[in-house]
């Protein structure tokens, strides 16, 4: 009997606690004393690193919360509205899309500040024991497209089928899933470029944008391209075990695993810090954070958090040590200006 009474008492106490929480946290117009960021898994390690530095530089502030939802999912949450229950920052591994901007406007998120924090390389890599591939966007497209140039299903089985200069090993590429920002970059930076080498595709683009997109960016699903989840470490492990396979992932993973992997040159350009930073490596892509201007005064520390980004995104900064590639100087200057004067993004520039 005693046990039951005890249990009942604990339960009642816990329920009261739960009830209190509902009242304090549930109010839609409530306040929040910590920064919330959502978005890209590629920006996540950099956003968390800055979060840590922000707390160390501003003792007494609560650590920002960084959620890794993928760029698309993050934009959806970011654009859901203004107020304490919506995030302040969206991390993105590509630029905001026009449709996302319009969604933001519709939900009252009017003034958005766009800040490019750096560059990430989408790297092609193989095991150290690999044959030493040399690729071009055209080869990658012809090897991976579901329907190359709209001429029916992809029949290429080995790399030699695609280009005689390559070894006759079976095509096997480990890469990100379609929900990932890295995959968007693969489609945009490599596949579309390879696709556009065929002049007929340019005409198709004029005729039907949708059909062009489907032909140029759809990846084959017959097992040659292996979707490896959002976990880039898994791709690294798979590559180490399969010397003839290729992997597609963020440049920082390549840097960190130099002892197991080597980069694959594209158009004869090797993936190095310099080539990615200046954008000569075809797989380079910009990393952004988007901030709600309406939250700048309401959320304590938001300006300081942005300043911490600006202080650390240089080539010798803490972010570079963690594998991000610093943006060219002109871009850094423009971003620093955006942080300082909170320039609002002009939606008409977006695609």
């Amino acid at each position: 009997m005693k046990h039951i009474a005890l249990l009942a008492a604990t339960t009642a106490a816990a329920l009261t606690l739960a009830g209190c929480g509902q009242q304090s946290g549930g109010a839609a117009g409530g306040t929040r004393d910590q920064i919330r960021a959502v978005g890209s898994s590629t920006v996540y390690p950099f956003a968390t690193a800055i979060a840590e530095m922000f707390v160390q530089g501003n003792p007494g502030m609560k650590s920002p919360i960084v959620e890794s939802t993928g760029t698309g999912g993050g934009m959806k949450l970011f654009c859901a509205g203004v107020g304490a229950q919506h995030p302040d920052i969206a991390d993105a591994s590509r630029r905001m899309k026009k449709s996302e901007y319009e969604d933001c406007q519709k939900n009252g998120v009017k003034d958005i500040i766009e800040i490019q924090i750096g560059v990430d390389g989408l790297a092609f890599a193989e095991s150290n024991k690999g044959p030493g591939f040399k690729l071009t966007p055209k080869i990658v497209y012809e090897a991976l497209a579901a329907n190359p140039y709209g001429k029916g299903p992809n029949k290429a089985q080995t790399w030699k089928d695609v280009d005689p200069s390559l070894p006759a090993t079976a095509i096997s590429v480990f890469g990100p899933p379609s929900t990932s920002g890295t995959r968007d970059s693969l489609a945009e930076l490599i596949l579309t470029k390879g696709c556009e080498t065929d002049p007929a595709m340019g005409e198709l683009k004029k005729k039907s944008e949708d059909e062009f997109k489907a032909t140029c960016t759809r990846v084959r699903e017959d097992g040659k391209y292996v979707d490896s989840g959002e976990n880039d470490n898994l791709i690294v492990q798979k590559l180490a075990a399969n010397p003839n396979a290729l992997g597609v992932f963020g440049f920082s993973y390549l840097e960190e695993n130099k002892d197991m992997l080597k980069d694959v040159s594209i158009n004869g350009v090797e993936a190095t810090y310099e080539t990615v930073s200046t954008g000569t490596y075809p797989g380079a892509r910009p990393l952004y954070i988007y901030v709600k201007k309406a939250h700048m005064t309401a959320i304590p520390g938001l300006q300081a958090y942005l300043n911490a980004f600006a202080a650390n995104w240089g080539p010798d900064g803490a972010l570079a040590k963690r594998g991000m590639v610093a943006a060219p100087e002109a871009v850094r200057k423009a971003s620093a200006e955006a942080v300082k004067s909170l320039t609002v993004l002009d939606g008409s520039q977006l695609k």
């Binding site: 739960a18 939802t69 229950q85």
Partner: protein
């Protein structure tokens, strides 16, 4: 009347005949085969378990240790501008300690030594100065956490450069590896030498508390009502089938439910252990109902009859006799349900608990993460130092699970009664 059919005279079984012996041998062989198959099945599952434990312990135990480098810090001669009489958090934050730490380490160990200590090693200096500002007037030997490269090399799997550095340091007796208390007291971070499990552990405790507080009373009340009060009609059948179905629904569905109801309709705080606990309570409740009903069913009717016979009311029968006797079974079911909830990741991803949260939660409405999600996050980290931390976190989770299951067995043995 018809003539009785003639029964052929039956010979007694000749156990010694060849046919019979063969049959007996076959039966024994079948018996042995079955025993062997069972043994194989047990062996196989034991082997998998052993493999899991060995690989986890092999990788993970290293995660509980950390390498430290003893550095002689000459505070008066260091480029540190701090007034020992006015040490505040802000003053320490403004003193550019990361740069100072780098300079101090270079001076003590050589030009390339800055890379040997962890990028967050300066926090150790900060805490020492804060604890005792008079240290600023002394020369002191302070143990700083080693960087990931050195840490891995000291545990014998590093790059040639790091190995050479470790050799130099160990010759000078400056390097030591000890238990990493920080792993148990710190929270999530970005530097693998300075991360800990405490934030996620506390989040797990809070989440489990909410889950228990919601699912246990509701589950037990449902079980008691269905067993003791409900009339047997099609309604109760429908409820019973629904509860059994609910127990088998994939957990991600509960996550979607939590997202659409708790977050989007009720506007409860995102990433909070309150919402996590409520979502997991939905998942745990059917398990408790099913276990509770079985436990109540197994209480002999004679006890109810006797209680009613001496004049107890139905409520008294339930609360004084049936429930206490059914309690061990209910508790076992509850703990098994809770253990399942403890290891759950999928529903929590949907409600925003997959997040970097460096401040341990102070209450159930604060943003929090839980152990399995922390493991999931660390497994995706770029830095190599996180590999062993991931395994170490898995060990913590396994110990937690083991403790819960141990508690279930203890409770069962303590309260169990035989009739």
């Amino acid at each position: 009347m018809s003539a009785t059919p003639t029964v052929p005279k039956r010979l007694p079984t000749d156990w010694k005949s060849d046919a019979m012996r063969k049959r007996i041998a076959r039966r024994y062989a079948a018996e042995r085969r079955f025993k062997l198959a069972g043994l194989l099945a047990v062996g196989l599952s034991a082997a998998f378990l052993a493999f899991l434990l060995f690989s986890m312990l092999g990788n993970g135990l290293r995660g509980f240790t950390r390498t430290e480098i003893a550095v002689q810090v000459d505070f008066p001669a260091s480029p540190l501008l701090l007034d020992p009489n006015a040490i505040t958090d802000q003053a320490l934050a403004n003193a550019n300690l990361p740069m100072v730490t780098g300079a101090v380490v270079k001076k003590a160990l050589g030009a390339d030594a800055e890379e040997w200590v962890s990028p967050t090693a300066w926090t150790v200096l900060r805490d020492r100065i804060k604890a005792d500002p008079r240290i600023l007037g002394r020369i002191e030997t302070i143990k700083l956490p080693a960087s990931t490269a050195i840490d891995l090399a000291a545990k014998s799997q590093g790059s040639p450069d790091a190995e050479a550095a470790v050799n130099r340091l160990s010759k000078a007796r400056l390097i030591s590896t000890g238990f990493n208390w920080g792993f148990l007291t710190l929270s999530d971070g970005t530097d693998p030498t300075q991360v800990g499990i405490w934030g996620a552990f506390k989040g797990t405790l809070l989440t489990m508390l909410v889950t228990l507080a919601l699912s246990f009373p509701v589950g037990v009340a449902t079980a008691v009502y269905l067993e003791e009060y409900a009339r047997k009609n099609w309604m109760t059948d429908v409820i019973e089938v629904s509860i059994n179905n609910l127990a088998a629904v994939p957990s991600i569905i509960f996550g979607l439910l939590g997202l659409s109801i708790f977050l989007n309709v009720l506007h409860l705080p995102r990433s909070a252990s309150l919402v996590g606990g409520m979502t997991l309570a939905l998942m745990t409740m059917p398990v408790i109902v099913i276990a509770g009903r079985n436990a109540i069913k197994s209480v002999p009717p004679s006890i109810r009859d006797a209680a009613l016979g001496v004049g107890a009311s139905p409520v008294q029968v339930v609360f004084h006799h049936v429930l206490p006797l059914a309690l061990p079974g209910i508790l076992t079911g509850t703990i098994i349900g809770m253990a399942r909830a403890l290891g759950e990741t999928a529903p929590l991803l949907m409600i925003g608990m997959r997040a970097f949260i460096a401040t341990p939660p102070g209450g159930i409405t604060d943003p929090a993460t839980v152990l399995p999600v922390q493991i999931f996050l660390w497994s995706d980290e770029v830095s190599k130092g996180f590999v062993e931390k991931t395994s170490a976190a898995i060990i913590v989770l396994l110990v937690f699970l083991l403790a819960m299951n141990g508690l279930a067995i203890y409770l069962r043995n303590k309260f169990e009664r035989r009739w």
